[in-house]
Symmetry: C2
Subunit: 445 residues, 2 copies
């Protein structure tokens, strides 16, 4: 296995740190993370407060670095420029976000099981850090303090890789974070910034060194990561969410929820891509829903029955499987709940699915039957978000089946260990004809 | 993607079920699992009791089928024959095991989060089945009722594949299980038996249809599965466990634990492969430990310092990385806890690691620092087991970092969904300058 050997230097705000190879960079993070993992919650929180202060102190340097990136990005799409741009208000938000993470409950050393297997043989399951994670994200410089603070809070080392358009901004923010850590007991090496695509690709082979990859970016990018590594990946490629308007839907709720779920932020993964309307109510309800969506600039693509009720572009088979990330919505008239469930099972990406109905039994069937991380009744799919769920900070959204599933907070950055403490017990004593029995008595957590 | 198309028939005890392709087999399980998932706990438990009764009723057929397998296995290793052989006592154990699973607490519909995000907007996180799992195991026919009962209890469909040496035994047991289910509300199609290696390989590609693979078998086999599928895998390839005898160890405990952890069942993944002895105590303690191990027929392979204290075969670098699964133990003299921790970090497979010491501070450092699913103090690594932990039934042992980690009970076969129930709330109401705040008030679970 070959690792890319290179020397890279951070821009002017950087410090003494000069990794000579990616493997060394990752190993430095691992070693530092082992120290970080042993710190008290108060020490980790104090380090976060120091980071927030350092970010504020470095504001001028960070804005200057961002100006360099912005100048180079002048010809890039406006949406990318908007994500890239740092203003003083966004800077204040970054520091506030780090302080918010400091205030979250400690995710480490939480006892989940406490059980006496037999007299003097005590089992505990306690949460602990994963180890070292890699977070790969787009040209969004504010992701650097966000992920850095989640990593510190959860006792993990982190390798951060931002989009290349944000190189100077990320480096300046990262330098400030490390300066903050230098004033704390958290070893600054626990966080490392890498900058090239080659390093990202090389990271994927480091399954002995990295415990989790958190990719944020396009569907293609996330799928590439998933297909090219043995490291656990927390993320999701597709977000094909549906809103099913049942025959017993309240019309006002149906219209409001369709508009919100499609238009409130169309590029989000929890925005809907397909509207399913029960044939029993479609003749009266589809026209006003369509009108409300069009007033928000949404292009509708319907199946034959939808088009017959309400002229719109025809949908092709590909539309049911497309995440538009745009003001486009596929529309299908279905014969009731069963047909809606079949469509969702076929095309849904197990992210978030919603029903609008006043019929509690229909809703219950929908919530029980649909296989998705989020199943919603009479509310917008756009609520699928760690902050809205009250997790305080979001690592990402997972559409895998095994937990952690759906919006993932700090819980996704911790694992657990079983601690068994005895007085010399052997398994032979608990085996065979005269075996001692276990009594498996749960103790207070 | 091509699927293997074949027609196969179960032996005489089988019923009407004749899948024509693997994909159809898996889809039949999925459809049936959707019905199974909606059944009440009482219905699932009644089905398990019917299965236990059916296994008892089919005892003669099953023993006859097993005799066919045993006759064909006459030239195979004795250990394989021992796993393969079914005696009336093992048959009684199978039925009792199914009834034990019925008595376990229901793993489904358990509320983990119950939170009012805002007035009339209620979030719940509830456990639910994974969907459909595939379990691939060796020539151990009693794994069929074990895994089948765990699948039914947890509301999952299951594709079962036994070792080819156990073909007739597995088919007869499976037919009895289906007969039991036919007398219950659980659709028998929820469980499917496949029999060829080609089908196993084809399963690995069905990532849209299968939610988890549970492989049980050799290291090479598990690693092959892990490397050839995008489906989540619950299992472990390596079990390289260590016992560290600290300078402050109680000699009697050290001797008893070394003997138990190596010899009580040397082929188990939680048996130790390497003994680390603190140089401070090695001169007095290594000789009696070595003698006790040799009395149990253990071959010792030591580093130079161990060999100087106590003549033994020399260990090579490969020994530290070898899972012997046999009465062989590598022995190394280390300079205290730090050196032991470094060795374990380098060579351990994150399974289970133990320290023998009377020094609580040394023990605490060990338990906190070692990165493994199980960290033990003064007890045998052989306790790493779902039954001994009190989980009632074991799906397997996982050495991955993310939960589920270590011995996994029914918890490993369930996931969760977030249910959000509102009254028409949109995200737009909670966004922007006049945003409604969330109040995130936890409700009773």
């Amino acid at each position: 296995m070959g690792f890319i050997v290179k020397v890279f230097r951070y821009p002017k705000t950087s410090c003494e740190f000069l990794p000579v190879s990616l493997l060394e960079t990752v190993r430095a993070a691992r070693r530092a993370a082992q120290i970080l993992a042993q710190l008290s919650p108060a020490e980790r929180d104090r380090a976060l407060l120091a980071v927030a202060t350092a970010l504020e102190a470095a504001q001028a340097d960070i804005l200057a670095a961002n100006a360099v990136d912005m100048a180079a990005a002048a010809d890039l799409p406006k949406a990318l420029q908007a994500r890239l741009a740092l203003k003083p208000s966004k800077m204040a938000g970054m520091a506030a976000g780090v302080r918010d993470v400091a205030r979250l409950p400690d995710p480490l050393n939480q006892r989940q099981i406490h059980r006496e297997l037999d007299a003097g043989l005590i089992l505990e399951r306690r949460t602990c850090p994963l180890g070292t994670i890699a977070a790969i994200f787009e040209a969004r410089p504010d992701a650097v303090p966000q992920i850095a603070s989640l990593a510190i809070k959860s006792g993990n080392g982190a390798i951060l890789k931002g989009g290349k358009e944000a190189t100077h901004s990320c480096a300046a923010i990262f330098a400030a974070i490390r300066q903050g850590l230098a004033a704390s007991t958290v070893p600054p090496d626990a966080l490392q910034l890498i900058s090239t695509r080659e390093e990202t690709v090389a990271l994927l082979a480091l399954d002995r060194e990295l415990d989790l990859i958190v990719p944020r970016g396009s569907n293609e990018f996330v799928r590439y990561i998933q297909d090219h590594t043995r490291i656990a990946v927390l993320g999701h490629a597709d977000g094909i969410c549906h809103l099913y308007v049942d025959g017993a839907a309240d019309p006002a709720k149906a219209i409001a929820l369709a508009v919100d779920a499609k238009t409130q932020y169309p590029a989000a993964c929890n925005a809907i891509e397909t509207l399913l309307v029960d044939a029993a109510i479609a003749p009266t309800l589809l026209p006003p829903i369509a009108q409300a969506l069009r007033e928000q600039g949404v292009e509708l693509r319907g199946d034959e029955r939808a088009g017959a009720l309400c002229p719109m572009n025809p949908a092709t088979a590909a539309d049911w499987a497309t995440e538009y990330c745009d003001l486009i919505l596929a529309v299908k008239v279905v014969d009731g709940l069963e047909a809606a469930l079949t469509h969702i099972q076929t095309y849904g990406s197990r992210h978030t699915e919603a029903i609008v109905t006043e019929d509690a039994a229909q809703a219950e069937t929908f919530l029980n039957t649909v296989d998705a991380a989020g199943v919603y009744w009479n509310c917008s799919t756009r609520f699928a978000d760690g902050f809205r769920y009250g997790f305080g900070a979001e690592v990402g959204i997972s559409t895998q089946k095994m937990p952690p599933r759906g919006p993932v907070g700090l819980e996704g950055l911790v694992t657990y260990k079983y601690r068994l403490v005895g007085q010399g017990q052997t398994v032979a004593q608990y085996t065979g004809p005269s075996a001692r029995p276990f009594h498996h008595r749960d103790l207070p957590l």
